[in-house]
């Protein structure tokens, strides 16, 4: 009984971190799509002055246009807990790439003693990274309140054990 309750508590903990992270990415994608739009976001990426001379316009346009869609899809997958672990790994790669991009941006436009924009690091990158790290550290088998748990029968087995 105690063991099952502990498992339920862990599943609630994972649910909290996973859904918060999912909401963050999902709504980041939704906002970009509704307020800016795919094409316009791509145009803005292609017009970035720091990258315009280095990276071909077509690549910038493609990356810019895909960004809202990638955020939307990854956010939805993490939010509902479908293909959760591969989706979390994609989010991990995304966070590392974005940190690297902000790092290069910091060298081109230094802010403060550490070059990188402290507001971006502390309020954008680190909270997302913290949610992601906690979710990845918690065992996948304890993520019971997810579509993955329904699909592979984990949730049903847990309910039977509990009953």
């Amino acid at each position: 009984m105690v063991r099952h309750d502990a498992a339920l508590e862990r599943s609630v903990a994972i649910f909290l971190t996973r859904t918060t992270l999912g909401f963050v990415y999902f709504f980041a994608g939704v906002n970009k799509l509704t307020e800016v739009g795919v094409v316009e976001f791509g145009r803005r990426a292609a017009a970035l002055p720091d990258l315009a001379g280095i990276v071909p316009q077509a690549i910038l346009m493609a990356v810019g246009s895909l960004t809202p869609l990638v955020e939307l899809v990854l956010g939805a997958l993490v939010l509902f807990g479908l293909w959760t672990r591969p989706a979390l790994r994609c989010v991990a790669a995304l966070i590392i790439l974005i940190t690297l991009a902000y790092g290069v941006h910091g060298l081109l436009h230094p802010m403060g003693a550490t070059a990188m924009n402290i507001a971006v690091v502390n309020f954008y990158i680190l909270p997302r990274a913290a949610l992601l790290i906690v979710t990845l550290f918690l065992p996948a088998e304890d993520d019971l309140l997810s579509v993955d748990a329904l699909r592979d029968g984990r949730f049903r087995r847990f309910r039977i054990r509990r009953a």
């Binding site: 991990a92 230094p110 003693a113 990274a129 992601l132 550290f137």
Partner: protein, 150 residues
Amino acid sequence: MTRTSDRAWAILVARCILGIVFFIAGVYKTFMWGPLEHARVLFVEPYADTFLPVWALWVSGAAVPVIELVAGALVLVGLWTRASLVALAGILVLVSFGHLLVDPPTSINAFILPRSALLLIVLLTPATEDRYSLDQVRRSRGHAAEAAIV
């Protein structure tokens, strides 16, 4: 999709962000600012009225950018990770002391505490779980060489 590789991804995220933040700071301070100018502006002048010896301020102020550069790069790629983390931890302690000596207690919240949290995540997890690192490649080669000898 094992539990170990999930943990390895978590460590990778913490290690890479920590490495990037320190490496970028190191590049900026070493090559764009200069270690001596860094020491003068951030160490010697602000602490001129304290009990700290001037020579120590020059030495620590000039060393910090280079340590951040080298240790940040090593942490980023995961080579000699533990030693590099210890070096960065030393910087965090040194900078905490410096800030708290002349600034309010909350002055360490924005810069030092988030970096310390990331550093602790990597340092407190077993080194063998950091699978996506150059240290892991070195460990694997070492084991392969041992097996070949046996």
